[in-house]
């Protein structure tokens, strides 16, 4: 009897052992998919591409600080006093960037993270599609090239050292974790970007709005910007002309319409989309939006440009500035669900205007800059003295694109002195530092 009980007990226990126990080790993630299965299908490629766009929304990328960083270094903004600045912002205002500055370090890490995603997609495309070429395939590839180019372009402008010629490491295929890529030259990075964008332009759909993803126009508009900053004014003008003459984009009457909630204006060529649950502009709101007790207000130097180059009747002043409590705030980023306009038609006019002026076409240059002036309610410029014209184009560009990530780089391109301290355009204080943690693990990198 007792033996029977013992045996029964043993059977019960063994039963538990064999059924319940082996299974306790089989635990699978419920909200994630395995890397090896992530990019094996068209859906995998497309959703990963969404993941790359999502990364662009990071507050350290196009969600904000790629724009704000340069304005802090250039002293285009001053502390509002409404909200305490954090350590890394104070460093930037003081031009004392350390290699652990979060704004620079996360631009690096988020940037390369987004680049990793598109590199993985680009690597997987031939495996998923084989030899067949389709619009779908080309669109995915083109968007990847566009995203990668845009990131490299901004990273090389922040980290690239014009004195040494070093840009950023150029990673165009997913790299192994043991690889230690050195900094490529600025020239090599530009060559890659230009090549990628030329291809993206041809393979992306030639439509105005590819469901808010990158289009052929977006690629070409970015290409115009890249040529412009590479001082290849001829090609920049040609690309700008293609966009302007495509007829797809028109300037809005009221500049404020470029910054509305969940609206891509008729002048915006590429925007970072906001939804109410997933806004792209939160960081920008935090920096400038009056109701958010912003960190920054526009610097006097910017107000002075408005004052002295056309006066305060300019709608870019009347509609995009507001006084409150003795301080002048900008209202450009007042909407919480703004689609962040990363490339606007106005920029292409200004780009072409300057290119034309540089190439001696003052008539064409005047025509372009006057399009922008007219929209803002300013009288046409009429003189043809090149140096004065270039100066006024500079002012128009500054006023049109203020706080949109252009001014700092534009000053560097023009080799103007920068910031309250009148630093030389190539002063190392104006360079983003390579993150210390990166130098620690990659001895092939050289600090700026």
């Amino acid at each position: 009897m007792k033996r029977i009980k013992s045996i029964l007990t043993t059977i019960v226990v063994l039963g538990i052992l064999l059924t319940a126990c082996q299974k306790v080790l089989d635990v699978y993630p419920a909200l994630q998919i395995y890397d090896e299965a992530a990019l094996n299908t068209v859906q995998g490629l497309q959703t990963a591409l969404i993941g790359a766009y999502d990364k662009l929304q990071s507050g350290y990328l196009y969600g904000g600080r790629i724009w704000v960083g340069g304005d802090m270094l250039a002293d285009n903004v001053v502390k509002s006093g409404d909200y305490a600045l954090v350590y890394e912002e104070i460093q930037m205002i003081n031009k004392q960037l350390s290699p652990d500055n979060l704004i620079t370090a996360v631009l690096w890490s988020d940037g390369y993270n987004a680049i990793y995603i598109v590199n993985r997609i680009l690597q997987a495309i031939p495996l998923v599609y084989g030899d067949s070429i389709s619009v779908e395939r080309n669109t995915i590839e083109g968007e990847c090239l566009f995203i990668r180019s845009m990131l490299y372009f901004d990273m090389v402008r922040y980290f690239g050292n014009p004195t040494s010629g070093f840009g950023v490491p150029l990673v165009i295929v997913p790299q192994d974790i043991t690889e230690q890529p050195p900094r490529a030259t600025i020239e090599d990075v530009y060559t890659q970007i230009i090549g990628d964008l030329e291809r993206a332009k041809t393979i992306l759909p030639l439509v105005k709005n590819n469901n808010n993803h990158a289009t052929s126009y977006a690629a070409e508009a970015l290409l115009s910007r890249v040529y412009f900053y590479h001082k290849d004014y001829n090609k920049a003008a040609i690309a700008a002309t293609d966009i302007i003459e495509s007829g797809q984009f028109t300037l809005v009457d009221s500049v404020k319409d470029n910054y509305l909630d969940q609206t891509v204006s008729s002048e915006t060529i590429f925007a970072l989309i906001s939804t109410t649950l997933d806004p792209s502009c939160g960081t920008l709101n935090g920096y400038y939006r009056i109701a958010s007790k912003p960190r920054f207000i526009p610097a006097n130097s910017l107000i002075k440009i408005f004052l002295f180059t056309g006066g305060l009747a300019d709608q870019r002043y009347t509609k995009l500035f507001i006084e409150s409590g003795g301080k002048l705030y900008t209202t450009k980023f007042d909407n919480r669900y703004m689609d962040v306009p990363l490339i606007r038609l106005a920029e292409l006019y200004l780009t072409r205007s300057e290119c034309r002026a540089n190439m001696g076409d003052t008539v064409g240059a005047l025509a372009d800059v006057n399009v922008i002036r007219a929209r803002s309610g300013l009288p046409d410029l009429t003189y043809t003295l090149q140096s004065k014209l270039l100066q006024d184009i500079y002012y128009e560009r500054t006023k049109e694109l203020f706080f949109e990530g252009d001014s700092f780089f534009n000053m560097k391109r023009l080799e103007k002195n920068i910031s309250n301290e009148n630093l030389l355009w190539n002063d190392p204080k104006l360079l983003y530092k390579i993150p210390q943690r990166e130098l620690d693990v990659n001895p092939k990198l050289e600090q700026n």
Binding site: P29, L31, Y34, A48, G51, D54, L56, Q96, L277, K293
Partner: protein, 1072 residues
């Protein structure tokens, strides 16, 4: 077998018959009194039994006993009583008579026969060859603290316990023999009644940065004993989770006999231990104005026109007044003490009622408790209702079964303390010149502080507005239960099977109104943790030839843990009375699901020869779902030996009456690394309303356990028959294959990958002594325990691992080889330049501007060292630092001049407890101390002149600032929004050593003469104080502080952290 069964069935019948027969014949009785030989006090509750029979009784309230119906003839009577040595006597029963035999028994100060709970079993204290600390139940329950962990503070050698702050339900950091891991958890494994339990914090951290503690849901009054397994030999039976030590908790069990009740209640008041000294309104104006003036003078000196304009002092400082947070007329007449708005006199209350009783066959314990803490911070409450039942039944002599179930319901209320709202803001961004209310009676200055479109915990200054606008409550249910069956196959062989269940449910509701937010925000979050485990044990125990004592245990266990989180938030509510997220117009949900499993087989052999030579060998094989299929299993062997020298015949040392040597060695593991670190994963993303995926983790299929080898050698000693006893241990714990996030170039798309690559050591001594200084009517017992621990990172692949977050760190803690974990990477602070002057820096030259002397230090950043000498100019009042060559410099260059300083963990810590008793009075005084640890006040750099001008209040210590040439001080010149003070330097690294009067208890146990009249067994009244005073040089709130208990590297850092509480309680305990 049949025969045996028959015997089993007939035995009770026979006994009954025998009893009847005996009753019919002539019998005799024995009676007597049991007293303490030393104090002569009578001892109620002692057990008297007749050897070789089941006959036995307990002494009554007066220590009397009477055994009746005994067969005539000689019998051996034995008396046993907890805390006393067993005593036996031959007594001859005479038919028809009552023989009197009194016992005067002596205390057993060594308690060598006491059974101590060890992993998967119990052992006689004498037979234990490993290093464990056992804490008596009375030490826990006599202290009126709401959680058992804090009751352990200073009581167990080798165990360092820090309550992270003084909030209700605060998290507790426990380190057994130092920190053995960098990235994995360093908290011990908690096992309650054999079940590894849910621990940690599950409260949402979004905006509510301070953690709660699930273990505070355990009622300390239900606990019988706590044992901490420290060395490998004791802990390795728990294999892969034993590196950090194991805390074994046994809850109270039923005692056969008359049903006894115990009840108690206490009520107490709490205040903060120490109040941070910050500026009041007039001082704030004085110092900010001074800073403004200084900034102006410096701007003039350097010719910085922009700053000359900014710091213009004309028009009666018009620019200054407009730079302040409030208008001049308000600022000048306001003096708000914001800290006082967020702290209060807290109240603690606790009541419990236990019942225990039953028969030899079935015993039960029923316990209930209610606790309520209204903490020292406004809106910080914790309430706990607990119930527990434990039943054990000896169904047959070969089968016993039992179950226990404990259930707790807790509620937890909190406003965020770190930044927005609570005390954190009150001491920093809430300025004393800002009034609480505006002229209309509403909160002053409550414009929405919204950054980045979502709730930003860094916003907000009007604490009172936050106290009104924010609601947070967590409802927690904790269920811990189990059933077991134990079968005795033979006298020597038994089998035990246990099933344990541990569940935790939590609902959190959060709401913030438009008073402090642009849009009201409501949130509801639920967490469910389901955990079960199965354990099967086969035990064999036998004594061969009376000298070989052999015990063998083999077993298996499997454990499964699943966690589910789901939450929803809503905004844009149609009415302020609607707060449920589902009534929001804009709403969204989120959630998570994860889990892990363990499958383990283990065994242990204990062998003792002649009660002198002892050997224990154990082995465990663990499987875990947290590792790839090929690396899933690990083996953890351990062994220990003991030798009781004092049992040897040659041992004739008169004073040293007990001496045991022991040594152990073994391997333990740590697998607390998150559930899916070994595999590359992509998680969900969204953009433009479309669903996407993005890389979350880069896999490493070679991941395996962290391991530690630990060597321990120790002695247990007893002097003067145990009047003085204690132990001494030395241990060396070597952790290797530590799981680290190996930093990789971010150009790969990732920052780090989990890798087994670190090596770290901990070594130290543990010493404790219990001395019965006076043992007669006046008793005086001294307990001292002192532990040392030295941690050193041996190799982490040349990495410098900072804080918990890959991108953002706080406190500058770092893990780097050659230093203790969590040391700080800082620039050495030298002091303040008394006068304008040049500092010569050798081998250095400056490559920025031609004439650097024109610029103050803030302008000099790129500083390169080269062949030439260079002079750097500092103005009087500038802070000075020490550079990499040991030279004093006004230039703070973190990249070049940083160095490693300090240690967040104490090198020596422990407790000293003195208990005096006379008649019924008991006075207990306990000190705890911690020496050699440092605390980095990460807020200091903003507090001491740093954020002056950035709307931060400042510590009053800035009154010692530099003011005029020649001043010698450590506090630099005050400047408006100066960058000079916000650098991370050793200036904010404080010695965190302290000596604290942790508890002082005065209690009175009423004598039996009174209690018997009240029909009580026991009546005790007491007053107790906790954290009464503290000797320390630490400048912040309280030196017992820890900002984030989940990170090993980031320890000993404060950032606006809440202080500790000082508590006075009055209590009563009853037994009846």
């Amino acid at each position: 077998m049949i025969v045996k069964l028959l015997r089993k069935m007939f035995m009770p019948v026979c006994l009954f018959l025998l009893g009847t027969v005996a009753a019919m014949g002539q019998t005799g009785s024995i009676q007597g009194v049991v007293t303490d030989k030393m104090t002569k006090e009578t001892l109620p509750g002692a057990n008297i039994y007749v050897e070789g029979t089941t006959l036995g009784v307990s002494t009554d309230l007066d220590g009397r006993y009477k055994l009746e119906n005994l067969k005539p003839g000689p019998v051996t009577l034995t008396v046993s009583f907890i805390g006393y040595k067993k005593s036996s006597a031959e007594v001859t029963v005479v038919a028809g008579q009552t023989v009197t035999h009194d016992f005067a028994i002596v205390t057993d100060q060594m308690m060598l026969d006491e059974l101590v709970v060890v992993g998967y079993g119990t052992q006689r204290k004498m037979d234990i060859t490993s290093s464990i600390s056992s804490v008596k139940v009375q030490e826990i329950t006599d202290i009126s603290v709401p959680t058992f962990e804090t009751a352990l503070q200073g009581r167990a050698p080798g165990v360092q316990i820090t309550q992270d702050n003084g909030m209700a339900s605060a998290s507790v950091t426990v380190r057994v023999r130092g920190t053995s891991s960098i990235y994995s958890s360093s908290q011990p494994l908690y096992v309650i009644d054999g079940v590894p339990v849910i621990t940690g914090s599950y409260t949402s951290t979004s905006g509510y940065p301070d953690k709660s503690n699930v273990l505070s849901l355990i009622n300390p009054n239900d606990i019988e004993s706590i044992v901490i397994l420290k060395d490998a030999s004791a802990a390795a039976i728990y294999g892969s989770r034993s590196t950090n030590g194991v805390v074994l908790i046994t809850t109270k069990q039923g005692q056969a006999g008359k049903t006894k009740f115990n009840a108690g209640y206490y009520y107490g008041l709490q205040t903060v231990t120490h109040k941070l000294d910050v500026l009041n309104g007039p001082d704030y104006l004085k110092y900010t104005k001074e800073a403004w003036t200084n900034s102006y003078i410096r701007a003039v000196k350097s010719g910085n026109t922009a700053q000359i304009t900014q710091f213009d002092t004309s028009n009666n400082y018009a620019n200054y007044w407009s730079a302040l947070a409030v208008p001049e007329e308000i600022a000048e007449k306001t003096n708000t003490n914001w800290i006082d708005q967020t702290i209060r006199t807290g109240k603690v209350q606790s009541a419990y009622l236990n019942a225990t009783g039953g028969t030899e066959k079935t015993r039960f314990f029923i316990g209930g408790g209610y606790d309520k803490t209204n903490g020292i911070l406004v809106n910080n409450d914790f309430e706990r209702i607990s119930a527990k039942v434990k039943v054990d039944n000896n169904a047959f002599d070969w089968l016993s079964v039992g179950m226990n179930i404990g259930i707790t319901y807790g509620t937890y209320v909190q406003v965020p303390t770190g930044w927005a709202g609570g005390l954190g803001t009150a001491q920093s961004r809430s300025l004393p010149i800002v009034p609480i209310y505006d002229t209309l009676g509403g909160p002053y200055d409550t414009l929405p502080y919204n950054s980045e479109g979502f709730y930003d915990p860094r916003g907000g200054t009007n604490v009172v507005a936050y106290l009104y606008s924010q609601e947070y409550k967590a409802y927690q249910t904790y269920l811990l239960g189990g059933v077991y069956a134990e079968i005795k196959f033979t006298k020597n062989l038994s089998f035990r099977s246990e099933f344990g269940l541990n569940d935790f449910f939590q609902r959190e509701t959060m709401y913030e109104s438009t008073l402090t937010r642009e849009d009201a925000h409501g949130e509801d979050r639920r967490v469910e943790v389901d955990k079960y485990d199965i354990t099967n044990l086969l035990n064999y125990k036998r004594i061969f030839n009376e000298v070989h004592d052999l015990g063998i245990m083999v077993g298996m266990s499997s454990e499964s843990d699943d966690q589910y989180t789901v939450g929803a938030w809503g905004e844009k509510f149609p009415s302020p009375t609607l707060k449920n997220p589902n009534s929001g117009t804009l709403r969204d949900g989120y959630g998570d699901q994860t889990g892990y499993g363990f499958l383990s087989y283990f065994g242990r052999v204990n062998y003792t020869y002649k009660e002198k030579y002892q050997l224990t060998v154990s082995m465990r094989r663990d499987g875990s779902s947290r590792f790839g299929a090929d690396k899933r299993y690990g083996i953890f062997p351990a062994g220990s030996v003991g030798w009781i020298i004092s049992q040897e015949k040659f041992w004739k040392v008169p004073v040293l009456t007990y001496l045991k040597l022991r040594a152990s060695y073994g391997l333990t593991g740590n697998a607390e690394i998150g559930n899916f670190s070994y595999i590359g994963l992509w998680g969900t993303r969204q953009y433009n309303g479309e669903g996407g995926i993005g890389p979350d983790n880069i896999g490493n299929p070679y991941l395996h356990w962290e391991e530690s080898s630990q060597f321990d050698v120790g002695i247990d000693y007893g002097l003067l028959e145990g009047r003085i006893s204690g132990g001494l241990d030395y241990y060396y714990k070597y952790s290797y294959d530590m799981l680290l996030r190996k930093n990789i170039p971010q150009t790969s798309g990732f920052s780090s990958v989990m890798w087994n690559l670190g090596k770290m050591q901990n070594q130290g001594f543990e010493f404790f002594i219990t001395s019965n200084n006076m043992v007669r009517e006046f008793k005086w017992i001294t307990d001292i325990n002192i532990s040392t621990n030295a941690n050193k990172i041996i190799d982490i692949n040349d990495q410098r691992i900072s804080g918990p977050d890959a991108n953002g760190t706080y406190g500058n803690n770092i893990a780097v080889a050659g230093h203790p974990i969590g040391a700080w990477e800082l620039v050495e602070y030298y002091g303040v330049a008394p006068d304008d002057g040049y500092y010569t820096i050798t081998n250095a030259y400056y490559t920025g501007n031609e004439d650097p002397s024109k610029f103050n230090t803030a302008d000099i950043t790129t500083f390169q060292y080269g062949p030439e000498q260079f002079q750097v100019f500092a103005q009087g009042g500038d802070p000075l630092f020490v550079n990499q060559y040991g030279e004093v410099t006004p230039v703070w260059d973190f990249d070049k001049d940083r160095n490693i300083f300090g240690n967040p963990y104490p090198t020596i810590y422990g407790g000293i407890n003195n208990t005096f008793s006379y008649k019924g009075f008991v006075l207990s005084i306990m000190f705890t101390f911690s020496l050699g640890n440092d605390i980095y006040r990460d807020d200091g750099k903003f507090f001491e002149g740093g954020n002056l001008g950035s709307n931060w209040n400042q510590m009053s210590i800035i009154s010692e600032r530099w003011q005029k040439p020649g001043d010698v001080t450590d506090q630099p010149i005050l400047l408006w929004n100066s960058p000079l003070s916000t650098y991370n330097t050793t200036r904010y690294l404080d010695d965190g050593s302290y000596l604290r009067l942790k508890t002082l208890t005065i209690g009175y146990n009423f004598p039996a003469s009174i209690t018997s009249k009240l029909k009580l067994d026991k009546l005790r009244l007491y007053i107790m104080g906790t954290n009464i005073f503290t000797f320390t040089n630490y400048l912040g709130w309280d030196p017992e502080v820890n900002r984030d208990n989940s990170a090993n590297v980031t320890q000993g850092v404060t950032y606006l952290s809440p202080p500790q509480a000082k508590t006075i309680t009055f209590g009563i305990d009853l037994g009846f």
